[in-house]
Amino acid sequence: QGTKENASAYNIYLITMDQMDQHWVNVDKGAQKAAEELGNVNYKWLAPDVKDDAKQIESINNAVAGGADAILLAANGPNAVTAALKEAADAGVTIVYVDSAANFPAVQTLATDNTAAGTTAANVMIAALKENGVTSGKIGIISVNSATASTVAREAGFRKAFEGTSFNILETQYCNGDAAVSKDMSANFITQGVVGLFGANEGSTVGVGNAIAEAGTGVIGVGFDKSDMILSLIKNGYILATMAQNPDVMGYEGVKTAYRALNGEVISPEYVDTGVSVLTKANL
């Protein structure tokens, strides 16, 4: 299984969906921290250049070929990577999911429960609308695309919370995470008279916030993820709240879990919800 830089050290690889989001950078930071603390770990981040199932599978294969003892994986989708993971497991590689799991057994999943987080987002929005005396109207959702499991789950959780209300959720618009495109789509939604807008990831949320900032109407914006830009939109009151994940926790705990598993410890629980914190102007 390849040569090791440090014979007694474990090779641990982090494989994310791509390298574009600050989210992944934070997972990497957490993982790095844990690796440093542990000492005898060779840690490496293998990021595909674009978000693409085939490329993620290639990265998994590369990690195995590179002598991985453990892989921390943020799976693009639940099914695409399973066969590659099976090959990896057959080669004796320990698998830990961070951020999003696949349909293949692993020692642990450290992730945001996206469905639950979507529901939380919806509840924050409903409460705020109620406070404003709004109990019906149109709601718009901007998401990345219909192919990303985590954002699809957030969308589903969000929609579920609105069941039984007299709000009407419009056809979801996909901006591929491009904040400028999201801004256009949000503006179109506002023209259509929505009372609430939900951005399902960082780029989508920035677009939502900018559109509300411009329109200056009483549309309630709720978003996902934490970035400097989103925080400033919240501070200025354009976005009511964002669901901040804890990617650094995923990375940090993920590496520790992998290390323990490699040392033969039995890991439980199987699923760790790293949780979201609802960030609002009040708690910043």
Binding site: Q19, M20, D21, Q22, V25, S146, L170, E171, Q173, Y174, N176, G177, D178, A179, A180, K183, D184, M185, A187, N188, T191, Q192, G193, E202, G203, V206, G207, N210, E214, S227, D228, M229, S232
Partner: protein, 337 residues
């Protein structure tokens, strides 16, 4: 309207490609009416203002691509230059550099890409497709490396003026973005139709060798077209920065193809020598109206792609058919002289 003053009208009708422009203008009107009937909001003043602002960036990159296509070349680096522009400008601003200084540096960097394109194509004589495929990849890499491989933070309060200037502000009741597009359109249309450089751009696209023998400088003319393309892409990148208030590495993805579509729908020939920027306005508008109208109609992305693909093919097919018809007529005319 002025059009109906007989002499200019006649002259207008003789411009090559005007047929295509008139056809697609009619198409644009029909499309708008359909969307308007499907959803009355479509014609609300708010949506019209919005729609125009959404069309503006496409018009801008369309202008750039039209310039390059008319010289008989192509620019695949447009989308990456948009990304590079937004990332460089936003990164500089987050580092506390004055917004307008940042804009200046960004423009210089983008013009560097245009210059490389022009020289690779006209001086080193690389096939334009390959030369700009290479610069497309490199420019995207620069966009990514600008802020050390991640999207930037907010460009902050200091940049509010810039954000208003490029996107959020209004002048005489119209969004500044629209004004920027219109003013640049007017300038570049003027250059293309009224100056020597414009004339030479058409000439080298029509017959580069004949143009060269008439004393036209191929290298400088081709490079000017690529510089225009890089410049407008840069402006679109700045608009993107203003819109988002931050820099996104992915910004502008595939814009080069939208730009080809807008140009070609508007009657610019990919074989060079033919086209006008008025057509590019129509092409960009059709593109924008489709995107906006199909969202209101609740059409899924798949349908939008199919509709747009079909419109691209049909509009060029129409042009080919019309031209071959005219060719036949031309032959007949000759036989009687």
């Amino acid at each position: 309207m002025v059009l109906f003053i007989e002499k200019p009208f006649k002259r207008l009708m003789r411009i090559r490609g005007i047929g295509q422009v008139l056809t697609v203008t009619a198409g644009l009107v029909v499309l708008s009416i359909i969307f308007g009937i499907m959803n009355p909001i479509f014609f609300s003043s708010r949506n019209v203002a919005n729609l125009l602002r959404q069309i503006a960036p496409i018009l801008l990159i369309g202008i750039g691509q039209s310039y390059v296509l008319i010289t008989g070349n192509i620019d695949l680096s447009i989308g990456s230059v948009v990304g590079m522009s937004t990332m460089i400008s936003a990164t500089l601003m987050t580092k506390g550099i004055n917004p307008w200084v940042s804009v200046l540096i960004t423009i210089i960097a983008c013009l560097g890409v245009g210059l490389s394109n022009g020289l690779l194509v006209s001086f080193a004589k690389l096939p334009p497709f390959i030369a700009t495929l290479g610069t497309m990849t490199i420019a995207r890499g620069i966009a990514q490396i600008a802020n050390n491989n991640y999207n930037t933070d907010s460009i902050g309060e200091a940049a509010q003026g810039l954000r208003d200037f490029f996107y959020y502000g209004k002048t005489f009741g119209l969004y500044n973005t629209i004004w920027i597009a219109l003013v640049l359109w007017a300038i570049f249309n003027f250059i293309l139709t009224r100056t020597k450089t414009g004339r030479h751009i058409y000439a080298i696209g029509s017959n580069a060798e004949a143009a060269r023998l008439s004393g036209v400088n191929l290298v400088s003319t081709t490079t000017k077209a690529y510089l225009v393309s890089a410049f407008v892409s840069c402006v679109v990148g700045l608009i993107t920065t203003a819109t988002s208030g931050m820099g996104t590495m992915d910004a502008g993805n595939s814009y080069e193809l939208y730009a080809v579509a807008a140009s070609v729908i508007g009657g610019v020939s990919t074989l060079g020598g033919q086209g006008m920027l008025f057509g590019t306005i129509i092409g960009a508008s059709i593109w924008g109206v489709l995107q906006n109208g199909l969202q209101f109609a609740g059409a899924p992305v798949a349908i939008r792609n199919i509709v747009i693909g079909i419109i691209v093919v049909i509009s060029v097919l129409l042009d080919v058919i019309v031209r071959s018809g005219r060719g036949a007529r031309k032959k007949r005319i000759e036989s009687t002289t």
